[in-house]
């Protein structure tokens, strides 16, 4: 592929901005740790602004890479995943602002977060070749996650919250299993983004499900910002690696 000087310059600029975004996101994670989850209200506004910027950047990076590199299913699904998460978080934030603190779980936004997992799974299935690992090789990852989700249902009883959290654990298991069977580890940043994505959404589910959640799960928002900053960088790197 012939990348012009101007294109290379804009690419470097974009990549630099994404690394800065990742640094800000990691800073948010560190802030939550330092505050032990006792964040001021302004954190919600700043955190959501960074999250939305990161998810839009991920969708943009996937779209830009798709346009530059040509048809690639991983990138096409990456656009949908980033855009869907942006929509879901916009809905959540708009709901938070307009309706107030009494936000129920699950909301429509949680359906959107589930949709992101599905687009990522489909993206790996369509964009990356299946490796030789047998299906059961994913069991050590999938079974503990499913067991944890079922344990929550057993302890807290079956209701909308626990069932949604179980669904999120199942989707996490499916995403990580697909990543394993499609050798996502060959693209380390993409693997890191996938793992952080799972941790962020599990934290979010636990934060909304547990009656007295530990402060660590309040990292969900900051981790989501890290997730999409990583996805954005991963898509740019992937398109460069995969370019003929």
């Amino acid at each position: 592929m012939n990348v012009s000087g101007a294109s290379r310059y804009s690419d470097s600029l974009f990549r630099g901005a994404l690394w800065f975004l990742l640094a800000v996101s990691v800073g948010l994670v560190a802030y939550v740790v330092l505050q032990h989850g006792q964040m001021p209200s302004v954190y919600t506004d700043i955190g959501n602004a960074v999250q939305l910027t990161a998810s839009m950047a991920a969708a943009g990076a996937a779209a830009w890479s798709y346009y530059r590199r040509g048809p690639d299913m991983l990138l096409a699904h990456g656009v949908f995943a980033g855009a869907t998460w942006t929509l879901a978080n916009t809905f959540w934030y708009a709901y938070f602002i307009l309706i107030g603190e009494g936000l129920n779980y699950p909301t429509v936004a949680d359906l959107g977060f589930a949709g992101v997992f599905l687009f990522l799974i489909a993206g790996f299935q369509e964009g990356l070749p299946r490796n030789r690992l047998p299906l059961w090789a994913a069991a050590p990852i999938a079974l503990p996650l499913l067991a944890a989700g079922l344990w929550l249902v057993a302890v807290l009883g079956p209701n909308a919250k626990t069932m949604t959290t179980l669904a999120m654990f199942a989707l996490s298991a499916a995403l990580l299993s697909t990543a394993l069977l499609r050798s996502v580890h060959r693209h380390p940043i993409l693997l890191a983004a996938t793992v952080v994505c799972v941790i962020a959404h599990i934290c979010n589910s636990l934060n909304s499900t547990l009656p007295d959640p530990p402060w660590v799960v309040k990292e969900a928002g900051a981790l989501a910002a890290v997730t999409f900053s990583l996805f954005a960088i991963a898509y740019l790197t992937y398109s460069k690696e995969a370019a003929p």
Partner: protein
């Protein structure tokens, strides 16, 4: 009265269906399904509203989009399972017809509910016609067009993509319902959103015509 209106509106269309063929019949069938989806959703939503009346949820924002988008798009999912991959971008039009059929019935419910008279009633009807109705059509069309875009994908990833598209439609619908119920810039955005989506879908539908190379056009 909703069931009576549904029967009065849809039964004549069934007679018309007998005379139509091919694409025309499919479009009208989807429109009739939209009307049917309106009735089904009305009763499901009504029962959900009663069930969650004491909780703090906002049903029109948190429940209605989930139910309505699923019922409106149901024939698309069934078509896909029944006929596999024999579909074209006509799916966008069929899906939109389902959404518009739904909107016709919902408009009837809202217009009769508020019992407006005079110019206010006309203005309200026109406003619904160019905002909420277009929103319903576009939401289902997004799913239809998305399915068309998956042409050539492996069957394994179709369920993921279908559910993913459904979540997109639900969220835009939820966001619309959330913003339109409030004043200020949010409401303005909500009013503009359906028309913007409509234009985007129109461009996507005519992409080949609008952006084809001259040599291809001559052929």
């Amino acid at each position: 009265m909703i069931l009576e209106f549904y029967l009065a509106a849809s039964l004549p269309l069934f007679f018309l269906l007998v005379f139509l063929e091919g694409g025309q019949r499919r479009v009208l069938a989807f429109l009739v399904w939209g009307l049917t989806a309106g009735v089904i959703s009305y009763y499901i939503n009504y029962n959900l509203y009663i069930a969650f009346a004491s909780s703090a949820v906002v049903p029109e924002v948190t429940m209605a989009p989930v139910v309505e988008e699923f019922v409106k798009a149901l024939p698309l999912f069934i078509l896909l399972l029944a006929f596999g991959k024999r579909y074209s971008k006509e799916l966008l039009v069929l899906a939109m017809a389902s959404g518009f059929g739904f909107a016709i019935l919902e408009n009837y419910v809202f217009v009769t509910h508020f019992e407006l008279v005079g110019a206010g009633a006309v203005a309200y009807a026109v406003m619904r016609g160019i905002t909420t109705s277009v929103m319903h059509g576009c939401m289902t069309a997004i799913i239809g067009y998305g399915i068309f875009l998956t042409y050539g994908f492996s069957r394994r990833s179709l369920p993921s993509i279908l559910f993913g598209l459904y979540t997109v439609a639900v969220m835009i619908h939820g966001l619309y319902n959330l913003l339109v119920g409030h004043t200020g810039i949010g409401r303005l955005l909500a009013i503009d959103l359906p028309l913007l989506l409509f234009v985007l879908l129109l461009v996507a539908y005519n992409w080949d015509v609008l952006f084809s190379k001259p040599a291809e056009s001559e052929e």
